[in-house]
Subunit: 515 residues, 2 copies
C-alpha cells in the first residue's frame, strides 16, 4: 500500500490533490473539536462549560460550511469525472471519492430546519429523560420521545432507504453504512436462539466462578500503574496517545498520532478499570493503526462503529477474558498489588472476569448477556420507527422482552426502558453496532487464530504483537477501503454470521460452568 | 459598573449588539486556540505536534478573516457613527469601539506578504537560534537576525509611529499600547541609577541570607500539594481554572471562567515551584477577575502585558517575598514537608527567598537584578531598530553592558546574547513589559497599602482577600477601560515612576543585607 500511495503522490492530478486538501482542512477543524471535547470531559474546570458549548457549536458550523461548500462540491465533481481516479475501486483515490460523495450527499439531504429541530429536540429530550429517570417515570419522558420519533421519521424520509427496506435503515446508516434491519435480523435471530440455550444451561449450573476478584479493594494509584502497563503491553503507543480518567470511559483524539483514551477507577473494582482500559485500548489501537499519509481523508478513517467495536471487544474479551491472558496476568497482579491479592487463585481471577449474570442494566452486563440487551433495544426501536409500537407502550414491551430473553422481572422504568440516554439524544439505529462489533470481533479472531494458531501461547507470555500486526495489516491500515460487511468477507472469506461468536462464548463458558 | 452595564444591556441598539456578537465570535476561535495551545504544552503526546501546528494555523486564519471581515468593519463603522455609544469615553461601548478600532486598523496595516515573511523568518530564526545557542556561536545566528531586523523595520514603517518617536515604538505597541522608547527611558534611567547603588552596597555587604532553603530536597508530590494550597489561599478559583505542569510555566485559558496556569517542580528547589506558582497565580487572578458579561470584547480583556505582569509580580514579590507572608508560610512548610524542613529557621526561608546575586541568566535572576537584564535588552533592541547598533556588534555591546550594569563578565554567547528566544521569533519591544510590570506593581501596591494599611498583618495570618478585592475593583474589573499609563494615574493618582519600586526593594533588602 505504501508503494501504491507513493506512486499516487507523484502522479496525483491537481484537481485530486486540491480535493484532498479541502478534505484535510475540514478535518483540521474536526480534530480540534475532538480535542476540545476530550478536554471538556477529562479536565476542563466546570466554569468553562457554557463557553465550550459555544466554541464547539461555532466550530461545527465552520466545519459544516467547509465540507458542504461549493468549492468542495465542485472539486469532488471534477474528480469524479476523471476516470483514472476511479478505475480501481479499492485504490485510495476511488475510495476517497466514494466516501466523500457519500458524506456530501448525506450532509446535504437534510433541510436546515430539520437539523435545528433535531438539535432542539435532543437538548429538550435529554433534559426530560434525566428528570424522568430520576423519578423512574417513563410517562414524563414519553411526550419528548414522541416528538423525537416523529422528527426521526421525517429525517429517515429525507435520507431515504433501499427498496424493501424500512425507516430504521435510513437512520442506522449514520453509524453503519449499508446496514439494514432485515440484515441485522438474519444474524441476530440465530444468535439469540443459541445464546438463550447457553444462558439457560448456565443458570441451571450447579457451580459458578468465585466473585472474590471483583470485591477486593486495591489502591487507585496502583490500579493506574497496572492498567497503563496492560495498555502499553497490548501495543498502545504513548508517544502518540494518552490514557486519562473520565466518568464514562471513551476513546477520541485528533488523528492517528494523537489518540486520547480514558478509563475509570473504583477502589473495590479493579476489573472495571481493567476491562474499560482494555476496551478503550482496542479502540485506540485501531485509531493508531490508521495511516499518517491518509489523515483527514476517508482512507485514513475507521470503517464504522461496528468495526470499531470489533477492535475494542477483541482486546477486552477475546484477549482480556481468555485463560491465556490470565496465565500471564495473574502473577502480574501480585507484582502490582502485593499481598492484597495473594489470596486470589488463578481460578478466582480468570473465573471472576467471566461471571455470567442476567441483570437489568446493559452497561454492567457480562460478555454474553450484553447481546440480549442489544437485541431487545434493536427490536423495539425498529418497531417504534415502523409504527408497530407506540411510544406509550414501550415500558410494557421492554419488560416483556426482558422476561422472555433474560428471564428477569424489570423492577421499574429507571432500571428498565429509561436506563439509556441514546433515544433521548435522537440516536436510533446505534445500539446494534455493539453486538455487530462482538460478531465481527469473533469472526476476525477466528481467522487470526487460523493464520496464527500460537496466539494464545503468546498471550500466556504477555506477547501481543502478532495479533496487533495481524489487525494492522488486515483491518486498520485499510481505513475505509471496504465497507464493514465487505471487509468481513475480504478478511475472513465469509459473510458475517453468528457462529464464531457462539463458538467463542460456548467454548469458554461451558467448561467454566461445567455445562 | 454592574448597574451601568445592566442599563446598557436593556438599551443596546441592534448595530452595537451585532458588533459585539461578531467580536465574541472571533473570540470563540481565539479561546479554542488558547486551549489547544495549552494542551500542546502541557499534555499532548509528541506525535500530535505537526498536525497541531496546522490546526492552529487554520484557526488563526479563520480568526483573522472574521476579525477583519467587511461585515465586521461595516458594523464597527456603523457604531462609530452613533454618538450615543461614545458619549462617555469610559463607558463599555466607547471602550469597546476604541479598542476594536485599534485592533482592526492594526490588523489591516500589514500587507499579507509581510505577515507571511514574518512567519517564515520566525520559524527559520528559532531554528537558527537553537543551533547557534547549542554551539554558543552568535555569528551562526546573525544572518537570520539581520533578516528579521530588516523585516521588522519594514513592519514598523507599516504601523508608523508618533511624531518625534522611533521605529521601536511601533513594535512595542503590540504588547503595550502607547508605549514609546523615550517614555520608557525616562522611567528606566533613574531606576538604573539608584538600583546600581543598591546593588553595589549589597555586593559589598559583610552579611548575606542563608541559601539553605534553596538547596533542600523535597518530594515533588508534597510540593504539588503545597503550591496548590498557596494558589487557593491567594484566591485562585479551581472551579474556574487549573494548575498543571509544563517546562516553562505560563498562564493562558479560554476566558475568565476557564483559566489554565502551569508551574514546574524540581526536587531540590521548592522555591522555584513556589515562585512560579505565585507568579502565574497573579496572572490567573487577573484573568479570573475580568467580568463574565464582557467575555469576547475589549472590556473583558486585560489592559497590556505590563499591567498583566504587575499582577503576577505583586503576588510573587510584594506578597510572596514579604516578611509577613513568610510569617504565615514558615509553619505551613512544616505541615507539608514535616521533618525535612525542621532545620529551616524563619530567617532561612524569608532570607532564602530574597537572595540578591548578579548573574548572567535573566530567567534565573532575583527580584532586583532582573530589572538590569531587562534594561540591557531594551537599550540594545532600541539601538538595533534605530540602526545605531549593527547586528554583528551585539555580543560586544551585550557583554559590555553586563560589565557596566551588573559587574560581571559574560563567559560566552550561550550565557550572553543567545540566552533569550524572543528576538529569534521576531519579538522586539516585548522585554520592557517585564520591568514595567515591576514598576506598575510597586506603585499599585503602595496605593493598596495606603488604602488598607493592615495588609501585611493579614498576610501574616494567611489572609489575602482584602488585597484581591482591591485588585478586582481597581484593576481587574475595568478590563480595557483605561490604557496602562492612564490606569496607573486613575488608580494611584500619579504617573508611573521608579520611586515606589526602589522604595520596595531598598526597604526590604537594606535591612536584610545590613546596608
Amino acid at each position: 500500500m505504501t508503494t501504491a500511495t507513493s506512486t499516487e503522490k507523484t502522479t496525483m492530478p491537481s484537481h485530486y490533490s486540491n480535493l484532498l486538501e479541502l478534505s484535510r482542512e475540514s478535518n483540521l477543524i474536526g480534530g480540534s473539536m475532538s480535542i476540545l471535547g476530550w478536554d471538556q470531559e477529562v479536565l476542563m474546570p466546570e466554569g468553562g462549560i457554557e463557553y465550550r458549548g459555544r466554541q464547539l457549536a461555532l466550530l461545527a458550523k465552520l466545519e459544516h460550511q467547509m465540507s458542504t461548500s461549493t468549492a468542495f462540491a465542485d472539486a469532488l465533481a471534477e474528480c469524479e469525472a476523471d476516470g483514472d481516479l476511479v478505475d480501481d475501486p479499492t485504490s485510495p483515490s476511488a475510495v476517497n471519492l466514494r466516501e466523500l460523495r457519500w458524506s456530501l450527499d448525506r450532509r446535504t439531504k437534510l433541510p436546515a430546519e430539520l437539523v435545528e429541530e433535531e438539535a432542539k429536540l435532543s437538548s429538550e429530550g435529554m433534559h426530560a429523560w434525566k428528570n424522568a429517570r430520576a423519578e423512574s417515570d417513563f410517562s414524563a419522558f414519553a411526550p419528548s420521545l414522541k416528538k423525537i420519533v416523529d422528527m426521526l421519521r421525517r429525517k429517515a424520509e429525507c435520507y431515504g432507504w433501499a427498496e424493501g427496506g424500512e425507516p430504521w435503515d435510513a437512520l442506522a446508516e449514520d453509524y453503519e453504512k449499508g446496514c439494514t434491519a432485515a440484515w441485522v435480523e438474519t444474524i441476530f435471530t440465530p444468535l439469540r436462539d443459541r445464546l438463550q440455550g447457553l444462558l439457560d444451561d448456565i443458570m441451571g449450573a450447579s457451580t459458578s466462578p468465585s466473585n472474590a476478584f471483583n470485591e477486593i479493594e486495591l489502591p487507585v494509584d496502583q490500579q493506574k500503574a497496572f492498567v497503563r502497563v496492560i495498555a502499553e503491553r497490548f501495543g498502545f503507543e504513548f508517544n502518540r496517545g494518552r490514557l486519562d480518567e473520565s466518568t464514562h470511559p471513551f476513546c477520541s483524539g485528533s488523528h492517528c498520532n494523537d489518540i486520547r483514551m480514558t478509563t475509570r477507577f473504583h477502589v473495590a473494582n479493579v476489573n472495571d478499570a481493567l476491562g474499560s482500559t482494555m476496551h478503550e485500548t482496542g479502540h485506540g489501537l485501531y485509531e493508531q493503526g490508521l495511516l499518517t499519509e491518509h489523515i483527514g481523508t476517508p482512507m485514513g478513517h475507521a470503517v464504522s462503529l461496528g468495526i470499531h467495536e470489533s477492535q475494542s471487544r477483541m482486546w477486552e474479551n477475546q484477549v482480556g477474558r481468555s485463560e491465556s491472558f490470565w496465565t500471564w496476568c495473574h502473577p502480574l497482579l501480585a507484582e502490582h498489588f502485593g499481598s492484597a491479592v495473594s489470596s486470589l487463585s488463578f481460578d478466582d481471577v480468570y473465573g471472576g472476569a467471566n461471571i455470567v449474570r442476567p441483570d437489568f442494566i446493559r452497561v454492567e452486563a457480562d460478555e454474553s448477556t450484553y447481546n440480549m440487551h442489544i437485541m431487545i433495544r434493536f427490536e423495539l426501536e425498529r418497531a417504534i420507527m415502523s409504527g408497530d409500537l407506540d411510544v406509550e407502550d414501550i415500558p410494557e414491551a421492554w419488560n416483556s422482552k426482558y422476561r422472555e430473553y433474560l428471564g428477569i422481572e424489570v423492577p421499574d422504568d429507571a432500571r428498565g426502558c429509561l436506563q439509556d440516554i441514546h433515544w433521548s439524544m435522537t440516536s436510533m439505529g446505534y445500539f446494534p453496532t455493539y453486538t455487530l462489533g462482538n460478531l465481527y470481533c469473533a469472526q476476525f479472531f477466528e481467522k487470526a487464530m487460523a493464520d496464527h494458531p500460537g496466539l494464545h501461547e503468546e498471550f500466556a507470555k504477555g506477547e501481543f504483537s502478532t495479533l496487533l500486526s495481524w489487525l494492522r495489516t488486515n483491518i486498520h491500515e485499510h481505513g475505509q477501503r471496504y465497507r464493514a460487511a465487505e471487509l468481513c468477507e475480504v478478511v475472513t472469506g465469509a459473510s458475517l454470521n453468528a457462529d464464531p461468536l457462539l463458538r467463542h462464548l460456548e467454548g469458554k463458558l461451558r467448561p467454566l460452568y461445567g455445562v
